[in-house]
């Protein structure tokens, strides 16, 4: 809280932070740039010859370009489920905030359960098999919606509370039907929380490993995180390729982070301060 700078403390903390938080990333990048023999020594050292391009080509072309399929699948899942989450989740957060009804208690309980409880895995697999959605991309999309919608409701509900009700009333007097009111008046005003929502959910869904592992088996449906996991057992003696893959998987969140740092932090700290 003091305004004076403390150069010694600053220097010491920069040094410690750099070692603890940046060395692992540097290690990933350096190993990804090494040749196979050098990478397998697992040293933290500068590569004697740069093989990053060769490694990239090798990783991307491995198993008939499985990584490209994986990126495509992960993108489809992420985009589709985030789109559904934003629309459907905002609808719930909006009505829950605006309307007093006897369902409110139940809705709150289910939202809390969705935030806390792990999914029942095998019964879900059985159910997906029954309705023909097991190991399909649409099935995965709906699963992501079901598992992430609670957080979305919490975020949007808090935001709708800051949108004045007078706007609703004005629109209703002008003859707006419920759908018009929501999609043409309220949703456009929620742009800020929608961006937060999109960013936070995209990162979570893109990085998700457990759910594709259970619900999306098979090479045709592989996702980015699953390729990484498969390569782990395949490339036990090719650390250069394994780490090139890690590098590739780390880049999308890094890009998102550079552009949306503020929204991510806002979304993830939402509700923490209100108490």
């Amino acid at each position: 809280m003091t305004r004076r700078r403390r150069p010694l403390l600053s220097l010491a903390s920069i040094a410690v932070f750099a070692t603890v938080f940046l060395v692992p990333f540097l290690f990933i990048a350096l190993t990804a740039a090494k040749t196979r023999a050098e990478a397998n020594r697992l040293d933290f050292s500068w590569p004697t010859s740069f093989a990053l391009w060769d490694n990239l080509v090798a990783v991307v072309s491995a198993r008939n370009g499985m990584l490209l399929t994986a990126y495509l699948n992960s993108t489809i899942i992420t985009v589709a489920s985030v789109a559904l989450l934003v629309v459907f989740g905002s609808m719930v957060g909006y009505v829950r905030q605006r309307r007093k009804s006897r369902w409110n208690g139940l809705v709150d309980f289910l939202v809390l359960a969705g935030l806390m409880m792990p999914p029942a895995v095998v019964p879900t697999i059985w159910l997906l098999q029954q309705i023909g959605l097991f190991a399909t991309l649409p099935g995965m999309v709906f699963i992501q919606v079901a598992y992430n919608v609670s957080f979305c409701v919490v975020l949007t509900r808090a935001f709708v509370a800051t949108v004045p009700r007078e706007l609703d009333e004005a629109a209703i007097i002008d003859g707006a039907k419920p759908l018009d009111l929501f999609f043409r008046v309220i949703l456009p005003l929620m742009k800020q929380v929608t961006v937060t929502n999109i960013v936070v959910q995209s990162v979570a869904i893109f990085n998700d490993f457990v759910n594709p592992l259970y619900y999306l088996p098979g090479n045709a449906n592989v996702t980015v995180q699953l390729t990484l996991y498969n390569f782990q057992s395949q490339y036990t003696t090719q650390y250069n390729l394994l780490f090139t893959n890690i590098l590739l998987v780390t880049i999308p969140p890094l890009v998102v982070f550079l552009f949306f740092n503020r929204q991510i932090v806002a979304g993830m700290t939402a509700g923490a301060v209100k108490g």
Binding site: M1, T2, S10, S13, I14, F17, V20, F21, P24, F27, I28, L42, D43, F44, L84, F88, G89, Y94, V95, R99, K100, S101, V107, L110, A113, M116, M117, P118, A120, V121, V122, P123, W126, L127, F142, I143, V145, A146, V149, V153, D168, A176, P178, V203, V210, L213, Y214, L228, Y229, Q232, F243, I246, V249, T250, P253, T269, G271, A272, V273, G275
Partner: protein, 298 residues
């Protein structure tokens, strides 16, 4: 939907609410089918020997098996240990980092980003990278320790510390989230309190103990609960780093569920799931109530 209950305000009995309940419908269908129904039916399936085609009721046998097999019990104990260790460390370190990063040190914003970034990185990627770095003889960590003249342990190969090593990586990856939550909490404390404390002669430590700590409480509750629950549910980091090994030394309930599923013991796997539900409800809810009760008193 035509007859809206008349007790709602702003409404004449004839007019429909501008906030129709059918807005809940899409989420209700998806969540109800894919989350709620499996969760409820898991109670039944956990009482059966189950092949996915046929479920034979066997009473509590799955649960008995769970509490009788030493390696399954170990998974249970490990889960609780993992939850407490990671949640405790994330809370303490997160608070200290937040205090440091709201003080007047240089490169503050950059350091905040550095601490937070691992939160966004793929858990599997982090797990693989640290597994390589924790290699007992060649790993970067032990080579670094050797330079200092310390002989590092087999982080992931020694059954006594494998679980704690994974927990340490979990803290490394997750402490950034705790830190930004604490920063948001600290920033929202009015400056006047510090001013008043300073006038009363409070030094840094006293300011921290008597101003920051009590007033940052809502953030503390969030961090403790959030990290405790995610600790109890952890699967991917354990799976990427040790697969529950060596032996069963670092198995947690979530990895046991996966192993039993892979082995085709669907009923037993589902029983594990039910145990995880109960564990979270039994530990997290009282913790939440306890932390909030304290809040009312202060």
């Amino acid at each position: 939907m035509t007859a809206t209950p008349p007790r709602l305000e702003h409404e004449t009995p004839r007019r429909r609410s501008p906030y129709p309940l059918w807005f809940y419908a899409p989420v209700a269908v998806i969540y109800g089918t894919l989350f709620l129904f499996p969760a409820l039916s898991s109670v039944w399936f956990s009482l059966t020997r189950w092949t996915l085609f046929e479920a034979n009721f066997i009473g509590l046998d799955n649960f008995r098996a769970f509490f009788r097999e030493p390696f399954l019990v170990q998974g249970l104990v490990n889960t609780v240990v993992f939850g407490f260790v990671t949640s405790g460390l994330k809370t303490v370190l997160g608070l200290l980092l937040a205090v440091l990063l709201t003080s007047g040190i240089a490169a503050r914003d950059f350091l905040r980003s550095v601490v937070f970034f691992p939160v966004l990185v793929s858990t599997i990627g982090v797990g693989i990278a640290f597994t390589a770095m924790m290699h007992p003889t060649q790993g970067v960590i032990n080579e670094g320790l050797a330079i200092l003249g310390v002989k590092g342990p087999g982080w992931l190969t020694d059954p006594h510390i494998a679980l704690l090593s994974v927990a340490a990586v979990d803290v490394w990856k997750g402490v950034g989230l705790a830190t930004v939550i604490f920063i948001a909490g600290i920033v929202s404390i009015p400056k006047d309190y510090y001013e008043a404390a300073r006038i009363d002669g409070a030094r840094s430590l006293a300011q921290f103990t008597y101003v920051t700590l009590p007033l940052v409480r809502p953030a503390t509750v969030t961090v403790v609960i959030l990290s405790f629950i995610s600790g109890l549910r952890t699967f991917d980091l354990v799976w990427a780093m040790t697969k529950g090994g060596p032996g069963f030394a670092s198995d947690v309930v979530a990895s046991v569920i996966y192993k039993q599923y892979q082995a085709g013991f669907y009923g037993l796997s589902t029983a594990g799931n039910v145990i995880l539900f109960v564990l979270i409800a039994a530990l997290a809810l009282p913790l939440y109530a306890f932390l909030n009760r304290g809040e009312d008193r202060s």
